[in-house]
């Protein structure tokens, strides 16, 4: 078995309002940072997993994203996957 590392990003779909992001955007302007056009908060999930090859690792991550990590009604996901050699 080989070791893989995935970094999964979960984001609210553009059509879904992100009130927490709006609150942070307002705090950013209070900090004096101007020119922020949009600010949205997502989630980062780091997974270390075993798989026999990259194809299998990808299948596992896709399944996790599709069925558990993201709710596709309101969220999109993408991920970076790489093999790690210890």
């Amino acid at each position: 078995m080989n070791q893989f590392e995935a970094k999964v990003s979960i984001r609210l779909r553009p059509s879904v309002l992100d009130p927490a992001g709006e609150a942070i955007k307002s705090a950013a302007s209070k900090l004096g940072v101007e020119g922020i056009n949009s600010l949205r908060i997502g989630k980062l999930i780091e997974v270390n997993l075993e798989a026999k090859d990259e194809k299998e690792a990808k299948e596992k991550i896709e399944l996790l994203c599709d069925r558990l990590f993201a709710n596709k009604v309101i969220e999109n996901f993408d991920y970076d996957l790489k093999e790690v050699n210890e």
């Binding site: 309002l17 009130p19 309101i74």
Partner: protein
């Protein structure tokens, strides 16, 4: 009907299960049974309540982890027999996460946890969950993540099939199209953010929730 039993599912983090027990047994005299979420044997109950609370601490998303419990896995067969299921608050979130009902629930628009009474308009008579002689009812809400979201296509499907159960008269949380509750196409699954079990005794602020809970055992 005397042996009719309503199963109240208990997840780690459920906190409205005992309120529901009180409302069903104490106010309506309906027999109940608590069912631990790890049980997949629901053959002994005639309808099921997924109560409010914070199942699994709402980790990841509300209801996201609960949908993988043994009980939710057996719910599909239960629903297909036509038996009735109501999901309230966190229970509604679980029903959308597990695909029994369309849409999703997310953070309130104003980020507040809202604990208040809400005036609601009854939209559908399908499933006989609400007293059709009333157009409006008052039920309490208590949630931080109760903003119902659906896109235009889903809204059209909901409207065309008469699946919108309740709408807020004054939208408290930014829900799409003011939706507070929806049903499935067959009408035997209802999900709603307001808490009917907290409106079952006039001395505690109202009894507009009685009809809905009673309809777990009596419906046409």
């Amino acid at each position: 009907m005397s042996n009719f039993t309503v199963g109240i599912v208990v997840f780690p983090g459920s906190n409205c299960d005992r309120d529901m027990f009180w409302a069903l047994e104490g106010c309506l005299g309906i027999k109940t049974k608590f069912i631990w979420h790890e049980s997949s044997d629901i053959s002994g109950v005639d309808s099921i309540v997924l109560p409010g609370g914070f199942s699994y601490g709402d980790y990841l998303r509300c209801g996201a982890v609960a949908r993988f419990s043994s009980l939710i896995n057996s719910l599909d067969d239960f629903v297909k027999t036509g038996r009735r299921v109501i999901g309230i608050c966190n229970g509604f979130q679980i029903l959308t996460e597990s695909g029994f009902l369309p849409g999703a629930l997310t953070t309130n628009k104003n980020l507040d946890f809202i604990c208040n009474d809400c005036e609601l308009e009854i939209i559908t008579s399908k499933g006989s969950w609400f007293n059709s002689s009333n157009n409006k009812i008052n039920l309490p809400i208590a949630h931080g993540e109760g903003r119902y979201f659906c896109d235009e296509d889903t809204f059209k499907e909901l409207s065309d099939n008469d699946l919108i159960a309740l709408r807020y008269l004054s939208n408290p949380n930014g829900s799409s199209y003011d939706i507070a509750g929806v049903i499935n196409k067959e009408g035997n699954v209802l999900g709603l953010m307001p808490h009917p079990e907290r409106a079952c005794d006039g001395t505690l602020g109202g009894n507009d929730g009685l009809f809905t809970l009673k309809s777990l055992i009596e419906f046409s």
